[in-house]
């Protein structure tokens, strides 16, 4: 049930984000999801573009930080927060077009009865810092261009290697991002990396559900989760440790399963982690009533129920 609503929402927003611009929808350039600016006629695009440029057209010199022009750096961020806060991680699994693309591929794999590639908790944990490294580079490289004389072709470093950039424009019939740009060594380096990474991610997405989300920078939105009314709570004293949540999680989050709370403190613990996509697969497969709850302020969006779980899996 919830899964179907989610798929419906994903498709609606896919159409809105990818083609909305053609119908006059403009949602700005600070969306907390992978709506790609390289898609012509998109209804607004990913915040990472703004974050890398920090100022439209140019990288930001240090002096701008101490000037009134800095408001233009802050404005997209404010917009990003305004958009992000009410929905929080729901942006990922319910709205993000790239997430839907990955789901389609996974659907094909599941239809073919090909099993998933398993990633151990250790590998997952080792991959966790990658996002932070990427975020640091994303901010440091444009600063280095503006202030330290780094070659300007390093601009938009993330977009240049992001697999969504070649893939998403395909849905508007645009294949022009599949090339290696021979202009100079920097562009060759970036575009070649982009092509290889796209190949790797296409294979990765095929063999591992939502493989790209492991590296998705927007997942770092969880840094602001405290500000959001959206909560994912676990009633640690209800959990029997069956591990369904971890098993059904598309990104194999172990924290929800292993969270035990602190020293017998009663009540709910926040278990929204950086990788969480808000897809609610875990809640759907949790057999304990109210052990996992998605909340918006105090309103329960969806909480686990044995009856729901039993019914869902026996009718599947």
């Amino acid at each position: 049930m919830v899964e179907r609503i989610r798929l419906f929402s994903q498709h609606v927003f896919f159409i809105v984000f990818m083609y909305g611009g053609r119908f006059g929808i403009h949602l700005g350039s600070a969306l907390p999801c992978f709506s790609c600016p390289f898609v012509q006629g998109c209804a607004g695009h990913c915040y990472l573009m703004a974050l890398q440029r920090t100022h439209v057209g140019f990288q930001t010199a240090f002096e701008v930080f101490f000037s009134s022009a800095f408001v233009h750096v802050l404005w997209p961020f404010a917009l990003f927060l305004i958009l992000f806060l009410p929905l929080s991680k729901l942006w990922c699994a319910w709205l993000c077009p790239f997430c839907l693309f990955q789901d389609w591929i996974t659907l094909i794999r599941k239809r073919l009865h090909i099993r998933e590639f398993s990633m151990s908790r250790q590998v997952r944990n080792r991959l966790k810092p990658v996002k932070y490294i990427l975020l640091a580079l994303l901010i440091l490289i444009p600063l280095a261009i503006a202030n330290l004389g780094l070659h300007p072709d390093w601009g938009l470093p993330f977009c240049q290697i992001c697999p969504a950039r070649p893939i998403l424009p395909l849905f508007t019939g645009n294949v022009s991002n599949f090339h290696i740009d021979m202009t100079n060594s920097v562009t060759i380096g970036f575009t070649a990396t982009a092509m290889i990474l796209t190949g790797v991610f296409l294979a990765g997405i095929f063999f591992k559900e939502r493989f790209f989300c492991v590296f998705c920078l927007l997942a770092l939105m969880h840094l602001f989760k405290k500000l959001s009314p959206f909560r994912f709570e676990k009633n640690v004293h209800a959990c029997t440790g069956c591990g369904n949540c971890e098993q059904m999680c598309p990104v194999d989050i172990a924290d929800v399963h292993l969270e035990k709370g602190k020293n017998h403190m009663p009540g709910a613990v926040d278990v929204l982690t950086q990788d969480c996509l808000g897809c609610m697969n875990c809640v759907e497969s949790c057999p304990v009533d109210n052990a996992l709850v998605f909340k918006w302020f105090d309103f329960k969006i969806f909480s686990s129920s044995r009856q729901y779980m039993t019914r869902k899996w026996s009718s599947k």
Partner: protein
């Protein structure tokens, strides 16, 4: 595919034309001897982002010999009728923009019987809350613009991203018919080349800027400027007209789709192979 062929054609043609170029220039030398010493022309100098968010573009003005008149600088913004003037500070002046502005700029003067007009278009992406300083031109001055003969770039007055390898069409706007057949030349990094006239319209000239190695090596925002100029005679007056514009490196000319496909397939196959090999290892066997 057609696009590709076209690109290869250019890649082949450029060196061919390049090797013949010097002879052609020699042949037409008489037509452009006034370049530099006898002509008003503009040079794009530094573009700067100011801490308050304004953007400024500075120009250096190269004066013609025997200049008698004052050099006027007039511009219009975003295709609006207001005409602004900018004072010249020695040989430089700067235009400020507080918002994204498409600017149409004229610099002109008179040296004896010779009228000099330089025209250019550009876009400045200002983003500021403090208004850029503007001085409205006197109506008499502004009225000149209407009759001022000038070269213009056909069809792309506000499009600022001119790239090497992509043909640009120039034409002429005058209140009179020039006496002689019109010839356009282009000054590209002190090399003067004549432009071929459009076969259908003798007053339209096509210029395909050749790829520039330096631009290729520099970043995608790097620019150089070229000037298209001509000399007209009418009513015992000589008109030296120029159009200066900025050129970026070609965006798409060097894109190699075959190499891209190979890299993509390589990445896919290597990763998929690794996954399959890894899972084929039966860790559950005794």
């Amino acid at each position: 595919m057609l696009l590709d062929l076209w690109k290869y054609l250019i890649l082949i043609c450029v060196p061919v034309i390049g090797s013949f170029g010097p002879f052609l220039v020699e042949a037409r030398a008489a037509d452009h001897t006034f370049w530099n010493k006898d002509m008003l022309h503009l040079e794009f100098a530094q573009m700067k982002k100011h801490p308050n968010g304004q953007v400024s573009q500075t120009f250096i003005v190269h004066r013609p010999e025997n200049q008698t008149d004052k050099i006027s600088v007039l511009f219009q913004e975003n295709q609006r009728p207001e005409v602004y003037t900018v004072p010249l500070d020695q040989n430089t002046f700067s235009i400020f923009a507080d918002k994204p502005s498409s600017i149409r700029l004229f610099v002109f003067t008179r040296a004896g019987q010779t009228h000099h007009v330089v025209h250019t278009d550009m876009v400045l992406f200002g983003k500021s809350r403090s208004l850029a300083l503007r001085t409205l031109a006197k109506p008499s001055e502004a009225a000149v613009l209407k009759t001022l003969p000038h070269i213009f770039l056909v069809g792309s007055e506000s499009y600022y991203w001119h790239q090497t390898g992509i043909p640009l069409t120039f034409s002429l706007k005058t209140q009179f018919h020039p006496l002689h057949p019109v010839r356009f030349h282009v000054a590209d990094n002190h090399q003067i080349k004549p432009l071929a006239a459009d076969t259908l319209n003798p007053l339209q000239f096509v210029y395909t800027p050749s790829h520039d190695k330096q631009l290729r090596q520099a970043g995608s925002t790097a620019v150089k400027h070229n000037t298209v100029f001509t000399c007209l005679a009418h009513d015992k007056k000589l008109y030296h007209l120029a159009y200066t514009f900025q050129l970026h490196r070609s965006r798409h000319a060097f894109e190699n789709y075959t190499a891209g496909a190979i890299a993509l397939a390589g990445g896919f196959l290597v990763f998929a192979g690794w996954v399959i090999k890894k899972r084929k290892t039966p860790w559950w066997k005794e």
